[in-house]
Symmetry: none
Subunit: 201 residues, 4 copies
Amino acid sequence: MSDEPANTKPTRQRRQGPKRSETSQAAILEAVRDELAESGWRGFSVDNVARRAQASKQTIYRWWPSIGTLCIDAALSLIPSAPDGARDAQQKIAAIIAPLEATARAGAGNYILRAALLAAADDEDAGEKWRGWIKAEIRTPLRMILAELAAKQVIRRDWNIEDAMDVLLGPIWHRLLVMRAPIPEAFSLRQAERLIADLKV
Amino acid sequence: MSDEPANTKPTRQRRQGPKRSETSQAAILEAVRDELAESGWRGFSVDNVARRAQASKQTIYRWWPSIGTLCIDAALSLIPSAPDGARDAQQKIAAIIAPLEATARAGAGNYILRAALLAAADDEDAGEKWRGWIKAEIRTPLRMILAELAAKQVIRRDWNIEDAMDVLLGPIWHRLLVMRAPIPEAFSLRQAERLIADLKV
Amino acid sequence: MSDEPANTKPTRQRRQGPKRSETSQAAILEAVRDELAESGWRGFSVDNVARRAQASKQTIYRWWPSIGTLCIDAALSLIPSAPDGARDAQQKIAAIIAPLEATARAGAGNYILRAALLAAADDEDAGEKWRGWIKAEIRTPLRMILAELAAKQVIRRDWNIEDAMDVLLGPIWHRLLVMRAPIPEAFSLRQAERLIADLKV
Amino acid sequence: MSDEPANTKPTRQRRQGPKRSETSQAAILEAVRDELAESGWRGFSVDNVARRAQASKQTIYRWWPSIGTLCIDAALSLIPSAPDGARDAQQKIAAIIAPLEATARAGAGNYILRAALLAAADDEDAGEKWRGWIKAEIRTPLRMILAELAAKQVIRRDWNIEDAMDVLLGPIWHRLLVMRAPIPEAFSLRQAERLIADLKV
DNA sequence: TATTAATCGAGACGGTACGTCGAGTCTTTAC
DNA sequence: GTAAAGACTCGACGTACCGTCTCGATTAATA
């Protein structure tokens, strides 16, 4: 799960032995989610996960290089994909962060996502994995939309992607991590609106 | 340290024996800072702190109710007070968050502040303590300034303090916690500018 | 228990902190005995001992340098002291090995002693500890008696202590370890008789 | 394996038919011997054997009912057959235990034989297998010789085979298992002499 | 001045978790 | 049908930490 070798070589692979057990991995991820929701990041324990999932610790350590990446995987498996049907720029931008907010709004998702974010901030491997996801799912789509808007001269041309990320994502972290406050309705739309206003010519 | 003597009772105090050792507490806080900078939040251990500070674990547990609050105290002891000399509204707002950014920009401060924020997000007690500090040092001053601006009709009247906090603080968390990215120069000024622009009539 | 520091220095010892818990150590030794009797040497596990004794593994590892020495201690605590009242040479010699045989004859003692002997044969530390006991409790007394007999010209003068140990102890190991056969009555007397006959002038 | 010595070690063949692979079994036994010599009985592991022998664990468990019997087989494959050319009774008896002593005297043989004996003492199956070997190779020949001597009235008629085994084998165990002491030259002859003397009319 | 209560360091204690290794079983692929 | 490879569950390994407790020594206010 963490890293697929992807079988790049077209040569015959002489892998003998059984394949990875899918049911076991699913049970582990579910147990990780439960454990994160209950115990947070520091209280999280691999022993408990193994107990819950009826899996052996060996199996967990075999497939994930570190505890942190395990937590990130578990959280990512919870985040839905972006909704379709956006018509204007604001809706398109809002759609990018909508999955994050939907997860943060759900009862268990709130706890799980928070704990996974702590893992990403505390653990080197987890951080890289999480930032990889952010880059692919948030930064790249956002850049495309902003580039288009800049081409149409809707926004100014000297926009900076990192600044835009600050404006778009920062408020989510503030509510989710720092204040533990609920995220109101239409939050993503409001952030998108702010971002566009901030970049107006 | 966590809570001031609380001497609520005005009745006769039968205090016998030595007072709290200031040198020991200072050594503990310093050790906590070093430990947080080195090991992060999950890797943080009271045993190591006691070892570093040449203190007994009992002494630590006597004065702090939980590990998390200990970490918050250690981080707060690092944050300088707000600078004076602000003339306009933007500078005043920027001055509120300047101490946070200065700490986040320093080498060790970056690690310590991040770890303490994780503590606040992961631990109930630590969270309350941290949010208390935020309320006193950020939210209240900010509200006063914004109220003044609204009275002068510089900003619109339906401003919301939580939204303002989102805009002002969110970008810091994004850089510090999520991206582990450096915080550029004049960051606080830029956020203050954004906030005022966002609230313009 | 394993090694007494013996406090050779008459100077004041500035050991601070609590002392070793005697009840805990006794519970551990009893648990070790039970575990050895049930599971033998290879099946012996420190985890089980800790569970049985309601002790933490740390406490066990704090006071015993290795699993093997722990087992030897537990077995030695079971061996009674040599009986008195021996009149002739044969009875004196028999009295030396009588405690071993009594232990080997008892139900649980049989299993415990066997397992501890395996520990001594398999583990370096345990072996040294066990051979130290053998030397002090068997070899030295035996040498004194034989020297006396040689002086009285009851036995010949070119006797060798290691050969004598072979003759006196070997049969016990054969019954206890190799054959798992019961040790008959008056076994120690018979071995003593054989030894004297073997060394006759 | 369980019975055949299989001491020949031809070059490894990659593929075997539905028959049992002799080369694999030989490699396993050799690996067991190395492992026993290096790690003793408690430290012995099937995983290591499989790794060393490039064999699958399944293959090991298919052909041996337990770890202990595997060790016994490995040790037995090391014991040479009894030497010929004995003329008198003492030499005949000595010839019976000479293979054991030769093995115990060899460098690796010493370690392997000791570990296998521990297996026999600690493990039920291994014990039965080992005592079966003892009965066939030691007890039965010894009984025949002693019966002959008794018929010739060289020894007395009320001899007991178990007592004789005590006397003949005990010293070996004492040296090999308990004292870890070297076995001197002509040791078997000396034990045989003692046994005959002990049984003299 | 002697008593006494609070504090300190050191560290033992029962527990839980760490990350690794081994036991014994099962599954997949190759021959 | 046998073999190598290796994944699986379970549990032990020896170490580290948690939070509590006990021990002497030290210190300052009270008697």
